[in-house]
Symmetry: C3
Subunit: 641 residues, 3 copies
């Protein structure tokens, strides 16, 4: 894994640059990411360019032996551009313009901004596309951050109407698909369709779902335009985008397919407070991040990059943007590095080289303090670099034991009609991922159109849509299938399937969901001593070939099993989920073992990794290549079979 | 009690209709409600009508022996109408237009929409007014649902100014009535008066109160226009409207006086989460609804219909619109049916015949599932129908033991100037109603202008306005009066009475409220072992003829009694309230007995009903006509003296 | 201390006025405040004046021997003025106009309103400036109440641009100072700078900070305009403004410097719920207010008035504007009076003479009830008046033991970039003030530019800015300095200091803050048995001359000491703060002693005051001039050495 850093020379006096790149190389870094956010410095006014400073910075990096990942600066259009074209600004769900003064102040549906984005991208690609230091391009920055996928602008409304027309062909087909006879919501023309906000009560769920799909398509369109230019002007370079954590506003698989590599911005502590974790877990993992949140995203973006992925921004210390910003535990920065290694990352770079003294991110740590002295993360980066040298070349990450299907469309579907206020398909997927990983199983997050051949076990935590292709691949894969409630609960037009859920799964297990209920927090449905259901429960009718493995105390079946598939009718507690998963995995020939809440393991070829996220040292019975025994809190152990 | 169902033929393929009506009749249903929400199907474009499908549906129902309650479709103006007249849309308190895309997207003050409402109503009345199947008309649907009584539209502002002019005569009178010398708020003309929103801090409480009164009057105006047309064109049919639960935005008594029958939409589980209940009660009654919420509204709408009332929409399973949507307990659907019988309902119909596969209410249960198989409620409807046949004709509901005065104007008054953030006159009325009902007393909710003759006991839980007429009727009724804090605390112009509260009550009990305090949650004022006060306490001065029955530990009098009336100076806990009420009821000659939290009884002629809302079976000492002994959870017992 | 009352004759029939002033004088009051809010009665239409009623009221007061404090009515521009000049209205942070219908509906940046304010002030000053009864003028009312300092109006934006130009000189200097290369936020002209609201994510913290500074300057400008007119037209009269509690939106020191006397509106119970207190403390002090909140503000406004200060509005009973409005304990009204005496107040007047029957404040208690009978506060005012007569002339308030530096700019800095969501420099200052006062130390709240000579101890709870002048005065004062985390953490341009914090303090103690972390609620960092840190912790490097007095269990230094100064690296619990403060105070020669949570003492010359805010009587060993022994709850004791 190559190590690097995000560098913003434009924010610092030029006399620091030479020592910057020298010290980077000395630290063991081999690349820098530059350029993103620098538009106002590259083009201070329309058509007036100042490239020279960036030329010098890139050349300095090159001279120091550093590769360059160049970012397009389109996440921050300058004020002059916004003033010349105020229509590029997005509007919020409340119809208010979202103005200049921070970042991401553009609407994905704006053709005007798309053209500006093409223009600056082409100019950058022309200037640096063939530079020997430049090894990769990053498009824009964190698409959708700050809730910027959805915009209510006039451009978005017009584009949505075109998108609907393309999808449904005729307005009659739209009326039928959405069922608009309900509440006299029928349209006579696509031109009558508005954004699904600002209505008197809940807008139509299919309207909301399609608006999200459309909004995602606009992100794809925007990214594709940059990719096309960069491919042409900078051949042989990887094209990447930096995705985010806990973020589902657009289809990352779709954008990933346009790229060579998926990269993401990993802030284990910054994300902890935003994640679907208990208060106790947020306290326990305050300084390491949750044991599975990072791994979930590593695995997800491995899928998005078709196997190629990087961490392009890595947290080096306290960040500034969470509600509270604790410091990492001693060792955590190194641990996060090895976690990425174990998952097969090609590169990792820290955000950022030096903490800025001003601006929105002034309180965000870097590898250096504002006074240019090494910050707390520095020795841990050194240790990681040394460890990587020690291990030498590493084998590629192979297929995992388990495939977990994660689907953006299903996430949006649940959000469009949750039925229970706290239903969240991402949180469900993460809970299932944690259950598998705590049992020592390795997990590949995969899209619903993935090739499932070769997996022992396929998990469908909340796969609302099971269309024919997925049903066939599930059937043909030979894997055992474990599906949660809501599986196959809607058609793509967002109708309840004609023969009721779980649509697409019935050929594997003959169950029918007759009724659905959601339950407020605090309501618990016990299943004897085995565990309990909260939040969501379905009344299931099962065929004669189906075994009911577990029932609620109220008599309703909870766990149904056939030869090839298992169906869970309710949202079960973590312990019960592990119990079911253990049973299913053992039957599949896997060897699950409960590692407890804190310890996680991964395997890369014949290298074994153990990560201790907990507060207690862990003793292991192996001779270690890296790490000490017992493994301290926030410690890592690596050994070879 | 006749049984029926809400049927939306326009949402289903016509080939299903014939079997629909046959199966309805076979189930024991005798009527359907149709037509509401169907405007876009009746009039797909301005002036182009498609009546035939509705003709066929009505005829089919008729042929199957079903009566028809026809709804006017004005709750859902079609898109073409909104686009032709965007000024019919309401504006929210924030000044934002509330757009098309759900329902109730119109402003009650819009003369343009009033005309459209008249037009479509007249057309429907012409076509179906004389149809032999049509036995009743429902105006619109759920006036005010989704906070649509109050609108900030220009039409509303103009109408408010006219309303003020009519009420006060001169702007000088307005300035005096509201006391606008305070903060230099005086007006020189009615044209200067705006809506009481968007001010820097709290707007004038009398301004807010009058805006609510005005808004209520606009609902009355809107309903009256439809009633007038329907009366003329469809003689002999009942005219009804479907009111809601926990809803106080307009004066339901006033609208009720325009109707023949008050109907309401009873969703015992859907309402539970929104009601003023403890977390423990929301858990305990999760699958039955609160023991008194439904009865409160049955009694309230009996008053609104001058004795005639129906349940026009009844919950058959999980709904979709609450934050969480649990399934009813086995038996609850039948229990709710008998609860309505015991309170004297003429009709009950379930919402809806078949669960829809799409749209905002796709997750709302029906009597049939989306695949047209009977849903869980079906056998309970069968059982209710059979039970009704078994009992034969039932006597009418007579006068109850207790009258509880509930007044919309008082609710608005408390909301306009709560003085303690959580003060809510509806919640107070419900708590008093629960206390009486738990003591086995039957209760009539009545308006403040009701004839009080014949009652043993009259309760005034939070009657802010006690004007001369009410004072006289209280004095002349012969009933004992129990009044809570805030009784007679304001004049109709929203001034503190010249001789301090309780205005209008002093001829019955010589007490004066010298000072008022509100208390944050968690603060408790004990009255020895008798109980405690929370939330609200008044310092009362009492005359020599008044006995102080109970004092707080801090020395302040809490319970004052004269020969004819009792005054409670504070908001007391439920146990203390029952203690006071028991004492007063016994002295009045009633026979209160504590039934505990779960069991409720009602009496209809010589039929006795017992309802078990709790989790424990209840054994009773009667031979039952209906039900089993012991009475199971969610069970009903009926016996005759 | 002179006693008075706020009187609104315009709100009452004139036949009451004569008895009003007679009863005031009989009660021991010697002044009235009149005129504020009376604009619509003085000038019912543009240019038409009705002075006569106010003439008569003032003359009546004069005849009764009462002095008059006259308020300018500019907090409530009449409707005719707003309609003629709608551009005087402010806009909220959401861009919405904040309309007529309550009070403070004007924008401080409006030149049009500034002119109107000058006009009405000049007219009032002409008419009453020389009246023998008039002894003082109050400008406007409660500047900034209801969040009215910040406005988004066009006038504000234009004024902000001028303010920036004046501050930075060139837009290049602005770009550099704010560090706008970050995120391409650079401006080409001051005209491009907008208000820091409505951005996609967090706007620039220096932008927000400067907007607050600018907004504060607009308040100063507005006040100065009235002061200039009043000084000229009414020589010899004090000019005052009534400040508020818990309010930091503008620099009160700066406005105070324009005045002769700082006055404030003291509502001990009304403020309790809004203050940074625990739930337990809010319950414990429900009827007295917090033991230190009132004293904090007395001390603060003593500084704002350069020693001269009044309580111009004092709570006499339940107010109307808090979320809940409890009644004061018996004795509390008198206690609050003596608290002001002990802190050296010149005057106290109650708000208001008589409770109004209508309007927004109808539920606000007065000295009289709405029926004109004495309210509960009356005998306590009598007792205070009698006590003051008994004691005779009192000595002036001298310098306190301790100076606590409180700085509005630092409060805004923390709010502009809190880094931990609940960071609040006012709350921190209040906690430190409480710690000192509970230890029996007397405290002067002082501005950062105060003369510090003569103090034994100077506290810097959260002094973000330590510029050269303050650093020098700290060094030269001879006082021991105790500084909390965040001291000297920013330059005035809101950059992290070049050599890291604590900037300006390093000459007193050689410590460097290498890293900062914030911690969510519930996370505790123990320091053995000594106490704990919550919320905020810094990693500090210290020089060889610095002693580490206390370390966290995780090994980080917490309490650093040099010969002259102490630095606390974390936000410590109240007990630990007292422990540190005791240690430092003893070393300084002071005699701290823990008085417990409820009891507070003050000293005025050789008069000693003891206040019992708690629920338990307190026995003391002195012969009392005022009060009884033991001192009851809400009781006061006064004795002389």
């Amino acid at each position: 894994m190559k190590l690097g850093v995000c560098w913003y020379p434009e924010q610092w006096p030029e006399h620091l640059w030479a020592s910057d790149v020298q010290r980077m190389a000395a630290l063991g870094l081999s690349f820098v990411r530059v350029g993103e956010f620098a538009w106002s410095r590259i083009e201070p006014e329309l058509g007036r360019f100042e490239w020279e400073w960036l030329d010098r910075a890139v050349d300095l990096a090159h001279a120091a032996g550093l590769e360059v990942v160049m970012g397009t600066p389109t996440a921050t259009p300058p004020k002059w551009l916004v003033d010349a074209h105020p229509e590029i600004l997005a509007k919020g769900r409340d119809g208010q313009v979202r103005g200049f003064g921070s970042r991401r102040h553009y609407c994905f549906s704006s053709d005007v901004y798309l053209e500006q984005s093409r223009r600056i991208t082409a100019l950058m690609a022309d200037r640096y596309g063939q530079h020997p230091a430049v090894v990769a391009w990053q498009t824009d920055n964190e698409y959708g951050c700050h809730d910027t996928v959805v915009s209510m602008s006039d451009a978005a409304k017009a584009a949505f109407r075109r998108w609907l027309a393309a999808r449904y062909g005729s307005v009659k087909a739209l009326n039928t698909a959405w069922g608009l006879a309900f509440w006299s919501q029928e349209y006579r023309s696509f031109d009558e369709v508005d954004a699904p906000f600002g209505t008197v009560t809940e807008s139509h769920p299919a309207h909301r779902l399609d608006w999200q799909r459309f909004s995602s398509a606009m992100v794809e369109r925007f990214n594709a335009a940059q990719v096309e230019i960069l491919r042409a002007a900078s051949p042989g370079r990887d094209i990447v985008h930096n995705f985010m954590g806990l973020f589902t506003e657009f289809d990352h698989y779709a954008v990933g397919r346009q790229l060579d590599v998926a990269t993401w911005d990993s802030y284990p502590i910054g994300f902890l407070g935003q994640g679907p974790f208990t208060v106790a877990d947020k306290a326990r993992y305050l300084r390491t991040g949750h044991p599975d949140l990072t791994a979930f995203h590593h695995s997800l973006y491995r899928a998005c990059g078709q196997g190629r992925w990087w961490v392009i921004e890595q947290q080096p210390g306290p960040v500034n943007w969470a509600a509270w910003n604790p410091a990492p535990a001693k060792g955590a920065v190194e641990l996060w590095g090895w976690e990425a290694v174990a998952q097969g990352a090609e590169r990792m770079s820290w955000f950022r080289w030096r903490q800025a003294p001003t601006g929105q991110e002034a309180m965000h740590a870097g590898l250096n303090r504002p006074d240019n002295q090494p910050a707390a993360a520095w020795p841990e980066v050194e240790a990681l670099a040394a460890g990587l040298s020690q291990l030498g070349p590493l084998p590629p990450r192979g297929r995992s034991d388990v495939a977990l299907i994660f689907d953006y469309d299903s996430v949006w579907a649940v959000r469009s009609q949750p039925q229970g206020r706290d239903q969240d398909a991402l949180a469900t997927a993460m809970a299932w991922h944690t259950a598998a990983r705590r049992l020592g199983l390795s997990v590949d997050i995969v899209p619903p159109d993935a090739d499932l051949a070769g997996y022992d076990l396929v998990l469908l935590p909340a796969q609302v849509f099971v269309d024919e292709g997925l049903a066939r691949r599930l059937a043909e894969s030979g894997a055992t299938v474990l599906a949660g409630p809501r599986t196959g609960s809607k058609t793509r037009d967002f109708a309840i399937p004609a023969h009721l859920p779980p649509d697409g799964l019935k050929m594997l297990i003959d169950v029918t969901v007759a009724r659905v209920e959601s339950l407020p927090p605090g309501i618990v449905l016990p299943a004897g001593n085995a565990g309990q259901v909260t939040g969501w429960m379905e009344d299931v009718e099962s065929g004669s070939q189906v075994e009911t493995r577990l029932t609620l105390d109220d008599g309703r079946g909870l766990w149904f099993a056939s030869a090839r598939a298992h169906y869970l009718a309710g949202q079960v507690d973590d312990g019960l989920l592990r119990r079911v998963l253990t049973n299913v995995a053992v039957a599949t020939g896997l060897q699950p073992r409960d590692l407890g809440p804190d310890v996680r393991v991964e395997r890369l070829g014949n290298f074994n990794f153990l990560f201790n996220y907990g507060p207690v040292p862990v003793t292991i019975a192996h001779d270690l290549l890296i790490g000490q025994n017992p493994v301290l809190p926030a410690g890592v152990a690596i050994w070879r079979d």
